[in-house]
Symmetry: C3
């Protein structure tokens, strides 16, 4: 089972060379490899299918592409070196042309002269090469042989799902985009963390049903939404995973609602963990939260990244390679997801069955018999050890006081500033003593 950061990083390295796009064999090969770790249901949706306001495009595949200086025979740019070298969805080309004619088809990053940019042209027929400014500047004048051996044909769009059945049919959707070519943080790290999460969850029966979606960005999530519109109410919470492996602090971007369950859980978990982190408002750009949070759906779906979308200089360049992401960072992202889903699965509302005054905890064995010391003092003085477990007693008092049918355990954890685990443990103890019911 894939669990460690090292294993996730290995998966990133393996997926890295593949030339993914919004359709084609790069996505299929990616899903094959993910499928070695977790069972996947792969869906193929034919070209031309109407999906919401969009139409599934033709399928794009590419075998080779290169630019060769005719006079010297030197191949100056070769797709074999990096899948980034060709503008994604480039139409086939086989021509000879001067550098001047070629120039409008060459994309560079003049301010990052050693890096190759990532460019696409999904919905307008075009072609182009991406290369470093350094390479461009060294290209001699003269004619170039231009070859893009690609195909654009009716085929299908590919995406995959993995479902971990839960105690209830209410779903948590975990989505990551699989359409980017050789970019590690965006989004192979997200794919790797999602894969590990799915593998972990399958080991136990979670409360919610967890649905993992591996789909191309935008058109993929739109296709999934179109095909699942009538079941969409099952999705109670969701998380888009992206940029999950860089060394920056975690950033949680809230759902459009801003107060959805997932928003409250992630805010709590990040704050309670003491990690440096940011929580930002929803905005309608970024990843597939754009689609899940479109006003017609308005799902409670947030997005977890480390450094957010477009927020780092390596973004959408050849510098976003496997060395840019770390095993530790992916483990850290995984840990926060695990903790968040654990809270999501345990959060519920209880009712205090003895709501008039405090019930006598002592005779139920839930309370220290020797009085006179303050509970607050005991918390400080004894920490986790010591004679009385002050925090457990405090948590019980909070759960009893707020379990009026209005407050969930998460509400109680937030109001009491106690960790969710302490509150959930207290609820379990009180339920065991017959003082609480769901």
């Amino acid at each position: 089972m894939i669990t460690t950061g090292t294993q996730m990083h290995e998966l990133v390295r393996r997926l890295y060379p593949l030339c993914r796009s919004i359709t084609g064999d790069g996505v299929r090969r990616t899903l094959d490899i993910v499928g070695e770790h977790i069972g996947l249901t792969v869906h193929e949706v034919p070209t031309g299918t109407q999906v919401l306001d969009w139409t599934v495009p033709q399928e794009w595949n590419i075998r080779a592409a290169h630019l060769t200086h005719v006079a010297t025979g030197r191949r100056v740019v070769d797709f074999a070196d990096s899948s980034l070298h060709v503008v994604s969805y480039s139409v086939p080309v086989s021509a000879t042309m001067s550098l001047a004619e070629l120039r409008p088809h060459l994309h560079t990053l003049p301010e990052q002269p050693s890096l190759v940019p990532y460019r696409t042209s999904y919905y307008a027929p075009a072609w182009g090469f991406c290369l470093s400014q350094d390479t461009l500047e060294k290209m001699p004048d003269g004619d170039y042989e231009v070859v893009i051996d690609s195909t654009l044909t009716d085929g299908s769009l590919t995406y995959a799902e993995h479902v971990v059945p839960g105690e209830v049919s209410d779903e948590v959707l975990v989505s990551c985009h699989v359409c980017h070519p050789s970019l590690a943080n965006d989004n192979l790290a997200g794919v790797a963390v999602a894969t590990a999460l799915a593998a972990e969850l399958a080991e136990r029966r979670p409360h919610h049903t967890y649905r993992f979606l591996f789909a191309p960005g935008t058109i993929g999530s739109i296709t999934w939404l179109a095909r699942n519109a009538e079941r969409i109410d099952r999705v109670r919470h969701g998380l888009v995973l992206a940029c999950a492996g860089d060394r920056g602090a975690l950033t949680y971007k809230q759902s459009r609602r801003g107060d959805a369950g997932i928003d409250r859980v992630l805010r709590h978990v990040l704050r309670a963990s003491g990690r440096p982190h940011s929580v930002v408002e929803f905005s309608p750009y970024g990843y597939d939260e754009r689609q899940f949070c479109s006003p017609g759906f308005n799902l409670g779906v947030g997005s977890l990244t480390r450094t957010p979308y477009a927020g780092y200089p390596e973004y959408h360049t050849s510098a976003d390679n496997p060395d840019f992401v770390s095993a530790e960072a992916m483990e850290d992202t995984l840990a926060v997801c695990r903790e968040a889903f654990s809270v999501l699965d345990r959060d519920r509302r209880y009712v205090n069955l003895s709501p008039y005054g405090e019930p006598q905890l002592g005779r139920r064995g839930l309370y220290d018999s020797l009085g006179g010391r303050s509970e607050a003092g005991r918390v400080t003085a004894t920490g986790g050890g010591g004679r009385g477990d002050g925090r457990a007693q405090l948590a019980m008092l909070w759960v009893l006081n707020l379990s009026d049918g209005e407050h969930s355990l998460l509400d109680i954890a937030e109001r009491s500033a106690l960790p969710f685990d302490a509150v959930a443990d207290a609820a379990r103890a009180l339920q065991g003593a017959g003082l609480l019911k769901e």
Copy 2:
């Protein structure tokens, strides 16, 4: 047409010498001069008319007033020098009295010894002179001839309206008081800015109907309210203009409601403009917002000033003269009003007609075809120029995402931190593409 700061300043200088009060020929002469710039409907309401809890008082007029030292024949105070020299509504006097007898009728500002204060006694029969402390201290003992050649007679209270018809009958009320004698900032600057605004608005057909009210403070607005009570629901927004010409920063005082449309618009416009400014809570003292925001009416009427009511040492003294106000300050106040009314006129709610997922903007010519760059990056990189107009695209995404019937364009501008203009332009483009309807 009056448009420039210089022209407004010219109007202030021309109106300055007139002896205005809450009734009388000073108000009429003021309205005559304003009427040279914009068409005015002048109303005369007879003395004794019951208006809400008040009664229109007798009309006050004054021809001359002076204090003459009998022994030397020297005229120490003369109304001909400044309309401030007589307590407004002074009853007629013709007498000779000692300085000691005269003393209780003399008003000075001991802490600002060179300035003449402004004083009134509208509703209690009284008389008095206002003079500088310096003058008072030089007045020799002995008898004085005291002359106030005023009349208090049944007549009428005068106010004027100018209406700019809009596309809808919902009204925006712009009110300024015209009762103060020779005080420039309070409120000839407000009168000048209101005049320029009215002239500007009449050049186009605004969305709302704009009603400009030039009336004496308190009794004038109360009279207007009494005569318009049954039509008051037409007033959807309002702004009291005062102290519009001093060199201080703008201050917007919110309506009693605090969240009225005008409050939100002024807050947005001032903040988005980057100007130093203040926004303050409603309080039941100041100018005629006191009446418009009385609990029975509770209109959405705020007040725009530069330095607020009573907040500057020149307030209600002879130092509030035409040199105290500047053409630039009045132009600045005018610009904010213009911008605020432009937002007010364009703010409305749209509904996204393609709310499930994002609509495909590209095939509608609304989106760059070359992908891979971040929208956020483009905004920064290209500013107003460059290849893709990133801000326009961002604005479209925001408008589509929030146009669910709950959010107005102003809501969207505030949540996205985009300028209102960008949001309104995006809405127009999306409406043109059939993606949005009102």
Copy 3:
């Protein structure tokens, strides 16, 4: 009548030596002494009575207790020196045992070696001695004669009430615990302040009915709640008084509701007073607010202390003696309670009978006739004296503006930042002029 800090301090000193517990003659003797100052209705509730989730325990009384070193005959610990020396509710003991056998029954504070702790064992049969660490360390090895001459027998739990009838039957509950032995701040100071408050209130007829409760902590308030459950709706506001005499700043702990009337009143009074103070959120530990604010009752009961529960090193030790509390601090606590109850008794909603525009205050003698000066300026310039009482006029404008049936006088005081007294005086003046009704 008990009114001064000195008198309260005298009461603390007199009550200090008594050995109170949750039942027994120490409580009865305490109530006898309080009953010398205010009339008390004493209730006795028999052992075994079911009270909510609890049962009234056996009654505990103690005559003597001591530890004597057999070899030397030296009495090393004697209950006659301090009621703290015996763990409250210790079962009777008469035995000789070695120091090693005795050791588990000896409680000290190793970090505060000169102080004797306060310990209880109400609901588990046990016995023990409390002593200083210094004493413990000097205790020679060898056998000790151990005597605790206590009784645990069926009897009753004792509490007392004092009711000051008001104009309405809605009640304000003032509660203080009377179960702690020789601890001055916790809670003899609270008892003394409550006694003085009751004595004061009985001198006039307050608006609310005030009910003072002197009861043992936890089991006492639970007993009272059990016996008054069907009348509990009468309790509209409440205050638990504890730790009322130390030299720290006042702390108001809000009710579980957080926005109950008592919460708003205490916040206002403390803030308006300019005193250093804290306002803290409700938490389900502390004093009897735990019971009053249990979810089934959820009363609007807050708690006023100086340094809060368990927040000072002298807490529950022999250092909480009469020297630890001061007459000044108790007077200060009393003053805040007095002011808070005065606001509570006067706060109500009025309706402006002339809500359209401002009513003309001048002709009703409520407003200065000489105009031209700012009200704001007058407030600053004249303070309490001067010609026009600016603050009174401001208060009238605020009361008129906000008396729309939605805002109480306290709301108006908070929004206007005027003292409650000024607002209440303005309301009385306006009501006198026929402009306002309840």
